[in-house]
């Protein structure tokens, strides 16, 4: 195994970097810039049973060091994804993670059942944390027993490992993480976006048509690090870490905090080459810091609590 390879349930990744769900569509746009086989894995946009039209525009607003989005889970629906998007991805041998959303438990189960038997799908990411839809989404992610119940039901019908994507908009994320672990989750993805708002001074109204949106980007990094650190000490399933990863140092910081792999979202918008550039810089930076393999640093921050 190479120095930068990592291995998680269902995901043998040649490097720890995947694009984050919703920031990479189904891969075709970024395939115009580079070979997607360079990625450690690919996480695609949320898929729901039916096509979703999403929210009205404006759907994005800029904030200091970050951005708000309120896309509202727009996607072409299960049938279209099965027929068009996933077959297109067959040309790559990079592991595929499919993000899944729904209004009710049955929706999640239906999508999981169909998606998880597609041969090039390696894992399901259960999106219980989308802040931008009225029903479903975040409501599943803010209550431990609801989250656990959904996880159990989805696990029962999934043929591939299930990662549960946690919401940071909660009082106690550790409680929810433990509940979904017990319900059978194979891994966790964290964090989804923080709820935020921006107001247009000219109109006095929110910039986003949906009023609130999800905050992503560099601004949220310390919140993500804290949550990953706290959760990783209390669960034994692996974590895919995300939230403001822009630089190669961020990848290492997330892994030291307890992540076993990372996802890059907003940074793709700043630079379409963000993912391959980060991957290319990784080994050099590891050399500088005297890090032998990535596997050796995962969760280092929790190892020796009383040294300092």
């Amino acid at each position: 195994m190479s120095r930068i390879a990592v291995s998680l349930p269902g995901l043998n990744m040649k490097n720890p970097v995947m694009p984050a769900s919703g920031c990479f569509a189904f891969g075709q746009e970024y395939a115009n810039f580079y070979d997607l086989n360079r990625l450690g894995a690919i996480c695609v946009k949320a898929v729901t049973v039916e096509e979703r039209k999403g929210n009205a525009t404006p759907r994005v607003a800029e904030t200091p060091g970050g951005m708000l989005n309120a896309i509202g889970l727009q996607n072409p629906g299960l049938a279209h994804v099965l027929e068009h998007e996933l077959p297109w991805l067959e040309q790559y041998d990079t592991p595929i993670v499919v993000n899944i959303a729904g209004y009710q438990v049955e929706d999640y189960m239906e999508v999981t059942k169909a998606i998880s038997k597609v041969k090039n799908v390696n894992a399901i990411e259960l999106n219980i944390s989308c802040p931008n839809v009225k029903e479903g989404g975040i409501t599943f992610g803010t209550d431990a027993s609801t989250a656990a119940n959904l996880t159990e039901k989805v696990k029962a019908v999934s043929q591939v490992p299930v990662y549960v994507k946690l919401s940071p908009n909660v009082t106690d994320i550790v409680e929810i993480a433990k509940a979904v672990e017990q319900a059978g989750a194979d891994g966790l993805s964290m964090i989804n976006t923080l709820l935020g708002m921006r107001i247009d001074l000219k109109t006095g109204q929110p910039i986003l048509a949906n009023k609130t949106g999800g905050l992503s980007g560099a601004a949220i990094k310390p919140v993500a690090i804290r949550m990953i650190h706290d959760v990783s000490q209390q669960v034994s399933i692996p974590i895919i870490g995300m939230g403001g990863i822009y630089e190669v140092d961020d990848i290492l910081e997330f892994m030291m905090a307890g992540a076993s792999a990372v996802a890059v979202g907003t940074a793709n918008f700043i630079d379409p080459f963000a993912c391959p550039n980060l991957i290319d810089q990784l080994e050099n930076r590891m050399d500088e810091l005297g890090i032998d393999t990535l596997a050796s640093i995962v969760g280092r921050s929790s190892l020796c609590n009383n040294i300092r």
Partner: protein, 258 residues
């Protein structure tokens, strides 16, 4: 569609808060048609986060030069306007589907209707159309006399009508007031604020093409920030929406719901 650190060759304020910037780099060679845009990264840090979409106003392929004209609106364009000749700006582009120049043939008369910072992309369009032997009538709308730019440039390419809201120059009123006086044309092309596009679409007596704006995330079609609804489901893709950044910014009049 590449990412290019382009050098600022020229940066001048051509009207109050309106800047013309000329950049050099190989990206200039990749333009497919007028109306395409670039996504400008302002600064190198984390703030501003997002790139700024700016239309391409003119291209000099041989000398690898790209010209844009932009208005200082908020933080990003302010910072851009403070950059100096010799500095480099990180540009992603060319992006989107521009105006189809071939839709007009030699015998045609085309009306180009632009308002405010919707005007710049029409300039390269006008150049290409006239190069093809198409007759071009241009209508440009400004708030007032002092806000006018590109007047001489457009005038060299054909008939030019200027409207100002306060009547300080040309026709007093809006571009639509000028458009209503015309009838003999086969095609229109327009770019400007949404209310103007709506008015132009309803008044025009010919088919045409409109260029839209929307707040963007990625600029390349991946984030779905910039969608608009199609009037009918697209026959080829089965989609009921379009992405302004990658399917647009130019659409056929009537194709999308304004």
């Amino acid at each position: 569609m590449i990412v290019d650190d382009m050098r600022i060759n020229e940066q001048i304020e051509i009207a109050p808060k309106i800047f013309k910037i000329e950049l050099t780099g190989p990206l200039s060679k990749l333009l497919k048609n007028p109306g395409q845009f670039v996504n400008v990264r302002v600064g190198k840090g984390i703030d501003p986060t997002l790139r700024r979409p700016i239309s391409i106003c003119d291209v000099d392929v041989d000398n690898e030069r790209l010209t844009m004209i932009y208005r200082v609106e908020g933080k990003g364009t302010k910072m851009l306007s403070e950059m100096l000749v010799g500095d480099t700006v990180n540009i992603l582009g060319p992006l989107g589907q521009g105006f189809p120049v071939d839709a007009a043939t030699k015998e045609n008369t085309c009306v180009l209707v632009g308002g405010g910072v919707g005007i710049p992309p029409l300039y390269y369009l006008a150049k290409q159309l006239t190069a093809n032997g198409v007759k071009v009538i241009t209508i440009l709308g400004f708030r007032s006399d002092k806000d006018i730019f590109l007047e001489k440039e457009f005038a060299e390419l054909g008939e030019l009508k200027i409207t100002t809201e306060d009547g300080s120059k040309g026709i007093k009123g809006f571009v639509t007031d000028a458009l209503e006086t015309l009838s003999d044309y086969e095609l229109f092309y327009t770019c400007g604020p949404k209310p103007m596009l709506r008015a132009v679409e309803s008044i025009a007596s010919s088919p045409g093409f409109i260029s839209l704006e929307e707040r963007m995330g990625c600029g390349v079609g991946a984030c779905l920030a910039c969608v608009c609804d199609l009037n009918e489901r697209n026959k080829d893709t089965g989609k009921s929406y379009a992405k302004i950044c990658s399917d647009g910014p130019v659409f056929e009049a009537g194709e999308v719901i304004l």
